[in-house]
């Protein structure tokens, strides 16, 4: 399996596992560990953990909210403010998680580079 897919899967699995017992930054830890184990190159260093966490957070948020007719999401989307659109809120949620994962991925890669030699 290529490193890109491995990194993606491990980031996703670790993020899922860590989220059970750790606060929100569990996704940063997941991306970091995955980046150390499966070193990526170029823009993928950021983008693959970004996508992994983005999918995790949007998917999870959608499942929870869809079950409840987006009752709270509609209200939070007024609060933030996102025009009361719950899907925009889900998108923002994914981007926030993605950014956290992406930057942690870059940091993981640099740590790995530091200890490699």
């Amino acid at each position: 399996m290529n490193t890109n897919i491995l990194n993606f899967i491990i980031t996703l699995l670790l993020a899922l596992a860590f989220s059970i017992f750790l606060p929100w930054w569990s996704v940063m830890l997941a991306a970091f560990v995955s980046a150390v184990l499966f070193s990526l190159k170029g823009w993928k260093v950021f983008f693959i953990p970004f996508i992994a966490v983005f999918l995790f957070w949007t998917g999870y948020a959608f499942l929870l909210s869809n079950d409840n007719n987006f009752t709270l999401a509609k209200k939070i989307a007024i609060l933030l403010p996102l025009d009361g659109n719950p899907f925009l809120l889900i998108l923002v949620t994914g981007i926030v998680g993605g950014l956290a994962g992406g930057f942690a991925g870059i940091f993981g890669k640099q740590c790995q580079a530091l200890v490699k030699k």
Partner: protein, 803 residues
């Protein structure tokens, strides 16, 4: 190079972590907030209402049935378990609100809101809210049974807090980024202080002092009479008071300090009030007494009320609870029903304090100096150093105003004497009412009750109806406490209290009904001194006229009356205006609007134009008439509406009618015309911006979230009529906060509704699901379960067991 990359990536990671983990202004810590595993997405659900939960301290099993309104019906084997379960279940649905209200009462909002709440917090501290709560707890300790229930309730709340996972804490905590703290018995006392302040924390002594100094005694008495020419008191006028045989307090021959007071603290909402009434079996369609209650408070989400059924093998009670307090506050059991309205009695007075020196440690009293205790109030502020606001306490009470707070005199201050500080076991009254079986039990329950003074209406299945004006009320000398008093003169102290049995009351009056709507409790024949501290004068007359108009009344009549939109104030003034106003100078547009209001039937219904025109007109008329009150740096209170209307109708050429800033001398007729033209202009401006000014759109009633009406969690533009001084007292953000009608059949049958929902979670469908029905004037049948055997109406059952 790789070191540089490492450092940059580390920095970026730290920045992103910090940026997403920190609250910036009103923006929550966005990473925490939006994390689907622990953030707000976890609140996207209804509460669990099934299964078994173990709770520390329970003696027996407790069964909680939920009906389709999410009303919990709690069946416990003993009272201790009952109140423990009440605490647990209330916290489960309303935790954030319970804590928020008690933090607000204690003056602790700055702890999680920040410096923006500091002035609010200081005001609470200077009113002695914490002091009052501590006094109440001291008093309740004399009653070990009530104290034990308070502790069980607190432990019940804490059982819930302890089992709460971070992901499940209410949305508001996540938004403001803080956590719930343990519940204590003091918090229950603070909640009751919150209600005391809301209902008996308003007085105008300092404003009256200014008015007396500026206008003189004769004019003052014209503007602020103790009794109006027309009153319809709570206790019927024909009542014989000759059994009251205690001496009245003599008025001392002494001077009052006529200080100039530039500013006073914010008052509770002037319309905080309520309606209640009960009719006897003779006046009832079925022969059973019927009772109704609707408290008028700020319209908030989560609602101030939480409806519950509380049952043990020895009693079974249903009604509205206050989250944080024990038992049912306005409700019924198998034998009796009760409800409250505010008694609006003056139980808050102000004393001028003369300090010996700038240290403020001693103040003058009689011929001596007394020590003023120091209470150090440390107000913690989010992200800031604490603010220390030390308050001096005299034997009267806290020195609210001094050089550190809204005062500039280095050697003087104003101390507050308030029945809220006396310490009372008000909780016991409600616990006993919950178990009451007849009139005697009700009367005995009331004896514990001190503040805020309330009109307790009563009806029983035995056929009795009654109303008591209950509170610990000072036996004042005539005129005492209307103005600022001299704190150094012992004769100005409250000398004694009205003996409880002489509090005004009536049982089974001949007219076949009892009622109250915050009006005068009694007429002038009552021997104790009662003065008008803002008694209502319209709703009570509509209610009493209604019950005097016919022989019998049905449940539908009760519903109609609670939703009655008749505007008596407008009906008493407008015909006079129509008869006297010179309309020759009106433009076509103005004439059209005059015709619109002339066609109005005085009902504040949602599709009418009249109420909006009246509202704009009255506002402008009031402001023109009382332009004498617009004095810089002097706190004043304009006369009450009844007297305002009375003066407009009977003293149209009084000097007050003149508009000071014009060279002409205006009369009431001129004011009507000028204010009408102004009102038309403001309505036209409003229309240009918003469209039709029908009452629905113009009033725009909303129910606002407790956090300053946070729009996302509030409901706007509710189609409901009514207004100020109307039986359906629904104003923009204030009105009937709970409507209840109980027929005293065996067992009683009841209707109830409130503008909110049982859940405090904005993510729950039960958060605001009553609002539309409430606005439409609909009610829910309250399902008074007679045993813990679940019925078809049960949508979920939770069992609480001991650990």
């Amino acid at each position: 190079m790789k070191y540089l990359k490492f450092v940059i990536s580390l920095l970026l990671t730290v920045i992103i972590y910090y940026g997403l983990n920190t609250k910036f202004g009103s923006v929550p810590p966005i990473g925490k907030f939006l994390n689907p595993a622990t953030g707000i997405w976890q609140n996207e659900k209804d509460e669990t209402i099934t299964g078994t939960v173990s709770i520390d301290g329970l003696k027996d099993k407790v069964t909680v049935h939920y009906d389709e309104q999410l009303i919990p019906h709690i069946f416990a084997e003993n009272e201790n378990d009952l109140y423990r379960a009440q605490g647990y279940i209330t916290a489960k649905h309303r935790l954030w609100q319970m804590e928020f209200q008690t933090m607000a009462a204690a003056g602790r909002l700055s702890e999680f809101i920040g410096e923006a709440a500091l002035n609010y917090d200081r005001r609470q501290r200077r009113l002695g809210m914490g002091f009052g709560a501590e006094q109440a707890i001291e008093k309740i300790k004399e009653d070990p049974e009530t104290m034990a229930f308070l502790e069980a309730y607190a432990e019940g709340v804490n059982s819930y807090i302890n089992e709460l996972q971070p992901k499940d804490i209410p949305v508001e905590y996540k938004l403001l980024d803080y956590k719930p703290e343990p519940w204590t018995t003091k918090k229950t006392a603070l909640l009751l202080m919150y209600m005391t302040k809301d209902l008996a924390g308003s007085d105008t002594d300092l404003e009256y002092t200014n008015a007396l100094r500026i206008f003189g005694k004769e004019r003052f008495d014209l503007l602020y009479p103790d009794f109006y020419d027309v009153i319809d008191p709570i206790i019927p006028k024909s009542t014989d008071w000759s059994y009251i045989d205690v001496p009245m307090t003599e008025t001392p021959a002494s001077e009052l300090p006529l200080d100039t007071i530039s500013k006073t603290i914010e008052k509770p909402h002037p319309d905080n009030g309520s309606n209640n009434w009960a009719i006897s079996g003779q006046k009832s369609y079925s022969g059973n007494p019927i009772l109704a209650n609707d408290p008028h408070l700020g319209l908030n989400l989560p609602s101030i009320w939480f409806v519950m059924q509380l049952s043990t093998p020895t009693h079974n009670t249903f009604g509205a609870t206050l989250p944080g307090a024990l038992g049912i506050i306005s409700g019924f059991n198998k034998y009796i029903a009760w409800g409250e309205t505010n008694a609006t009695r003056d139980v808050q007075d102000w004393y001028k304090i003369e300090f010996k020196d700038e240290k403020h440690s001693q103040y003058k009293y009689g011929d001596d100096w007394r020590t003023a205790d120091l209470r150090v109030e440390e107000i913690k502020i989010k992200d800031k150093a604490p603010f220390i606001d030390s308050v001096r306490y005299t034997h009267h009470g806290p020195v609210t105003y001094d050089q550190n707070f809204m005062g500039d005199n280095k050697l003087a201050g104003y101390a507050m004497k308030w029945s809220g500080h006396i310490g009372g076991n008000n909780q016991r009254t409600f616990l006993e009412l919950n178990k009451g079986k007849n009139y005697d039990d009700y009367v005995n329950a009331l004896k514990h009750y001190t503040a805020p003074a309330q009109n307790f209406v009563f009806a029983s299945t035995e056929g009795d109806i009654a109303i008591w004006v209950q509170g610990k009320l000072p036996n004042k000398w005539k005129g005492q406490g209307k103005f600022l008093m001299d704190g150094s003169n012992p004769q100005h102290d409250w000398q004694s209290f009205i003996p409880q049995e002489f509090n005004a009351h009536t049982k089974n009056p001949e007219r076949g009904f009892v009622s109250s709507a915050n009006q005068h409790p009694v007429d002038e024949s009552y021997p104790f001194y009662v003065f008008n501290d803002g008694f209502e004068t319209y709703r009570n007359r509509v209610i009493n006229d209604f019950f005097n108009s016919r022989d019998t009344f049905s449940i539908q009549d009760f519903r109609d009356l609670q939703n009655n939109n008749y505007n008596l104030k407008a009906a008493e003034l407008l015909p006079h205006i129509f008869n006297t106003m010179d309309t020759s100078s009106l433009t076509e547009e103005e004439l059209q609007i005059l015709n619109e209001i002339k066609a109005w039937n005085f009902n504040n219904d949602i599709d009418e134009l009249g109420p909006s025109i009246w509202s704009a007109w009255w506002r402008n008329l009031h402001s023109l008439l009382w332009d004498e009150y617009k004095v810089d740096d002097v706190a004043l209170k304009t006369p009450y509406d009844y007297q305002t209307v009375h003066l407009l109708k009977t003293k149209g050429d009084d000097a007050f009618m003149d508009i000071i800033e014009t060279p002409e001398t205006e009369t009431a007729g001129d004011l009507f015309l000028i204010s009408f033209k102004k009102a038309v202009k403001s309505l036209m401006d409003w229309k240009a911006e918003n469209g039709s000014y029908n009452w629905n759109a113009y009033k725009a009633t909303y129910v606002g979230h407790l956090l300053q009406g946070l729009p996302a969690f509030s409901r706007f533009n509710l189609p409901i009529g009514g207004g100020s001084n109307i039986v359906n007292a629904t104003k923009k953000n204030h009105g009937a906060s709970w409507r209840m009608i109980v027929e005293m059949s065996s067992p009683p049958t009841a209707l109830g509704i409130y503008p909110g929902g049982q859940s405090g979670n904005p993510g729950s469908k039960y958060y605001d699901n009553f609002i539309d029905d409430w606005a439409a004037g609909n009610y829910h049948n309250l399902n008074f379960m007679q045993s813990d055997t679940g019925t078809d109406a049960v949508i979920g059952t939770q069992t609480l067991i001991s650990n």
